[in-house]
Structure formats: C-alpha cells, structure tokens
Amino acid sequence: MVEAVQDPELSAGEQLAAVLRDRLAQEYGAGTEIEGLVRLSGGASRETWSFDALKTDGTRQPLILKRDPMDRQVEKKFEGVPEGRLNVGRLVEGRLLQLAGEVGVPMPKVPFFLEKDARTTEGFFTHRLPGEALGRRIVRDDAYAQARPRLAYQIGHAAGRFHTIPLDDLPRMRGLPAAEELLHYRAIMDSFHQPHAGFEYGFRWLQERLELAGERYALCHGDFRNGNILVDEDGLVGVLDWESAHLGNPSSDLGWMCVRSWRYGYHDNVVGGFGDVADMLDGYEAGGGGWIDPEEIYFWQVFGTLRWGILCMILGFTHLDGEQRTVEYAVIGRRAAETEYDLLQLLD
C-alpha cells in the first residue's frame, strides 16, 4: 500500500500546493492556479485546508480540502475493549455529504475527491460557502439574530431528510446497537482504572431505561451538534464533519444536539444554545423523519452527555499514556467534570 510521505525539503503547504495543482488541472484544466492556501485549525484526526482555485478563464472557485493527516496518528488502544470505532474514511465521508445534499439537506457541493498516493493522504473537496461554523458565534453574534429562531426547526428538518436515506443507498458503514454501545463506553472507562462514580451512576440510569433507546437504524451523522453546522444570516447552509457517521438510532443525533456542552452558556436553549426541542421535532416531522417521543430524545441526551464525558477522558488519557503529549488534551481530560455535572443535573 502506498503511504504518503512528507518531503523534508518542502513545507506541508508547498507539497500540498503541488498536489492540488495537478488535481485541479484534471478538473478545471491545465494552468489552474491556487491562491490563499491555509490550514484551518481543526481536529488532530484530519487536516482541513482552505484555498481558491483560479481558473484560466479568470473565474475563481473557493474550495475546502479535508484529508487524513499526513503525520500518521497513533490509534488509541483500550485494554480489553472490542473494536467499536465508528469513524468512516474520507472518501465515504465525502460521499455522505453528496448523498445528504441529494435528499435536500443544505450542504456545500462536493465536486471531486483526492485519491491517496506517495505525496498525499486521501480526502475530498467541498465548495467553500460563506457562513459561520463556530458555535460560540452562532449563539451570540448579532449577525445571526435572525437565523437563531429558525435553526432548531431547520436542523430538525435536515436530520429528518438524511435519516430517511434508504440504507441500500449508503456506502458500507458500521453499526452498533445502543446496549452494546453503552457497554463499549463503559469498557473504555474501565480501561483507564480511574473509578468514576458520577459516570457510573449515568451508566446505571441508562441501562435501566434501555427500552427508551428505540429499535431503529438509520444513517446517523454521529457528531450532529452546534460546531458542526454552517450558518449564515438566514439560517442553516450546511451540515459538516461527517467523519463519525454510522448506522444507529436516529434519535441519537437529535439527543446529541441537546448536550449542554455546545450551548456555549445559553443553557435555556436546549438545542445547540439557539432553540428548543419542540421546534426541532416539528422540523424533523416536516423533513419526513416522523414523530419522535421527546422522552426518547431525553434518553439520548443523557447518553450523549455521558459519551462526551468518556470522550473527554479518552483525550486526557491519550495525553497521559504518552500517545500524544499535548496540553490541549490534558485540559480536555478535566472537562469531563463539566459533562459529569451536566449528566447529574439530568438524572433522577
């Protein structure tokens, strides 16, 4: 298998620029130039780059490239935990954006892909749309004052669209029943040998209510939250970051949207810090997703809160175990306390 290697003589940007010129020549014709290539800050699990393609006819196409990281990441291993990772590869992720766009989810166009070779990891391109993806600004900035009251309905509508894509139309993806997923996260917690009474209480609460999880399977976004949506002055323009997509209960996406960590202080607005559950569920029905019992959303909100707590622990221990030493992960490890607090407020 070809592994992409960074040429030490070139900067990461220089090497990528050469890759992009070749790739864009295939799509837009020889002589297409690139301008303003810059790496956007983002997760360590992928690279996101922004640039403009300058075509030879003088027109300009703003683009985003999302690709696997060039410096290969160490996959965190959990002692005694069966494989439960639900992440998809970049080519599947790009395809899912296309599929969601085809059924009417607001979505930037995915015009073409980037195959891996000796110089680059694989990825996909999207048209770069104007808009805001930073959750903090979406809940706070005056520019989005008109958008905010519409957003809960719009994201519900979007989920109602992509949750009803026929399973046969989807690329191969992993799925995990709720009960197994719950045990999966508990096993991860156990692997750290750090007893956590608050999370333990959450696991027990969820296990006693597993019948609320619902027995349906759909394309789940997997990280459907304020922070992974693109918004302009009029509302939703894109649902981004599909790398955690999997087959699961569709309510898990809606519950995840309600986790307090992405309300950015606007706690009364349960949905993403901008809206309420009733609006989201109205939009969901209008989008074709059908009626969902708010109790089921609540179950998945609790599940999501606990899951986010475990994910914070994972990042903390990724640092502690020496797999990736970074002060960012060290501090995120402590943010598990925030989700523990949120979780305990939700439970009885």
Binding site: Y201, F203, E338
Partner: protein, 120 residues
C-alpha cells in the same frame, strides 16, 4: 515544602501571568490557542492549591456517611463506583445523587468555574 516565598502557588501564578502578558500578544493561530489552554491549566492548579484540601475533606466525610466505611479518597470512590454498578446503592439514590452533584460542582469550581454562569 520550603516556606520561602514565592510559594509554589505564587510561582505558578508568575508563569501564568508571563504567558498571558508576554507570550499571548506575540503568537497567533495554533500556538495562541495552546497558550490559552496552558494558561487555563495553570489556573486550575492555582485553584486546586487554594481550595482542593478542603474539598477533599468534605468529599471524604460524605463518602464515609454513604458507605459506612473508612479509607482513602481513591479507595472510597472505587467502592462507591462498584456499589453503584452492582445496584447496592439503588435504595439510597437521592443521597448518592446529592453527593455526586456536590462533588461534580467542586470539580468544576476548580476546572472551569465559568461553566456554571448562565448567559443570554
């Protein structure tokens, strides 16, 4: 620990101020972000040095009451976790939840006190 000043807490404070006043204005992008995170980490250490001991003592008191046994904080938390999982605490839910909520609130008071502030 030496009693000489600056104390350990005051040294941490000095480093935090150095990062905030002299490094932050001169960096951007990823480095600026990580500097902000580092400043937060040091602030957690400062708060823990000031308030951590009292919180630990109160938590241990509550754990003794709940479990009817004695031990170190780690040991007692392990015992409570095990008892919750096995269902032994099911008839003491309210007391367990009160304890867990207080403990979580203390943890946030150290890790990120701003989290409890309501906006909007």
């Amino acid at each position: 620990m030496p009693t000489d000043r600056p104390t350990a807490a005051e040294l941490v404070e000095a480093v935090r101020e150095f990062l905030a006043d002299h490094v932050t204005p001169n960096v951007e992008g990823q480095l600026a972000f990580h500097t902000r995170v580092a400043i937060n980490a040091l602030a957690i250490v400062e708060r823990t040095m000031a308030e951590g001991d009292a919180m630990d003592a109160a938590e241990l008191d509550r754990l003794r009451d709940l479990l009817g046994q004695d031990g170190g904080l780690g040991e007692m938390n392990a015992a409570l976790s095990k008892a919750i999982r096995s269902g032994e605490m099911d008839d003491k839910r309210t007391a367990v939840l009160d304890h867990l909520r207080q403990t979580a609130e203390d943890k946030i008071a150290l890790a990120n006190p701003k989290y409890l502030i309501q906006r909007g």
